[in-house]
Amino acid sequence: MENKNKSLIDYLLILGDNSLILGHRLSELCGHGPSLETDIALTNISLDLFGQVRSYFQYAAELTGGDSTEDTIAMKRMDREYRHTWLVEQPNKDFAYVIGRQFLFDAFHLPLLEQLVNSKDEMIAAVAAKSIKESRYHLRFSSSWMERLGDGTQESHQRMQSAINDLYPFTYEFFEETETEKLIFEAGIGADLKVIESTYRQTVKDVFAKANLEIPTAPARKTDGKKGIHSEQLGFILAELQFMQRAYPNMTW
């Protein structure tokens, strides 16, 4: 029982941390987007992601017991305990990066949720059922912008291609099954990463074709985010994300 809970909590972190860190990156943009309309749209995505985070972490806190809450999970873990992939912590270098990062995540996230709606774990299935609609819209939004930027001007095409060239090699990590993911999949709770990968490849192929973008051939980056090994970006993210909880511990806000 304890072992099963441990894997499940671990799995919830893998799910939740991707949304947490990507939501954080998007939230940095609020007030700084290229137009009011895109500013509002990206904030909607960020809010959807934080909503998912809260559901996953509230559940994880319940399973953990003791003093654990959604906030201690989000803001009081050490850097090695975060389980998101490297893609989502990449910085908002320009709007092409923001869109590229979003699209690559959405293309993975939607088929993941499509499997999780059938999870044997009722909580996960319920969160997935709610999130799947959000994710479907995110993919629609990011695909539209991939197309606009990939097709638009010479400059936008170059920026989009270069963002993708940098970001794409991080996406292989999605499909490298960790011990936790394997256990959870076998228990009927998790997802089959191989199925997700083939859907993902197809989505990428379709959208890249419409956007006149080339699928990068650069090899996978050797990253282990899901095992808690992160880029140098995470420290800075946590310095902000955890600031209040660290500077003023054990208070109510």
């Binding site: 309309e37 509002i40 749209a41 909607n44 819209y137 629609r140 606009r148």
Partner: protein, 93 residues
């Protein structure tokens, strides 16, 4: 650089009701206008259906012609039920 086009947004708040004008926004094309309308104007469950139309495609009546346009309808009281005198005790009519 010239600004991008303005679009008018109409939202049906629930089935059974008509679409109502709720505001405007900027977008380069219809697809973008639709997505922007969804993100800007339905964040609080305001709607179940959206129409967007580029503002320049709307033909509007001219206020300086309001007299001939709308005043002639004013004295046509016979188009309204209260114009016809019927006894009070009469029912279902």
């Amino acid at each position: 650089m010239k600004g991008n086009p303005i679009w008018e947004v109409f939202i049906r708040s629930k089935n059974g009701l008509e679409h109502r004008h709720v505001g405007s926004l900027h977008a380069e094309d219809a697809k973008m206008a639709m997505e922007n309308a969804r993100d800007v104007y339905t964040r609080r469950q305001e709607g179940v259906s959206i129409w967007v139309v580029e503002s320049k495609h709307i033909t509007a009546s001219n206020p300086s012609e309001s007299g001939e346009m709308f005043d002639p309808a004013k004295d046509k009281a016979y188009r309204h039920p209260t114009f016809y005198d019927l006894p009070d005790e009469l029912e279902h009519i």
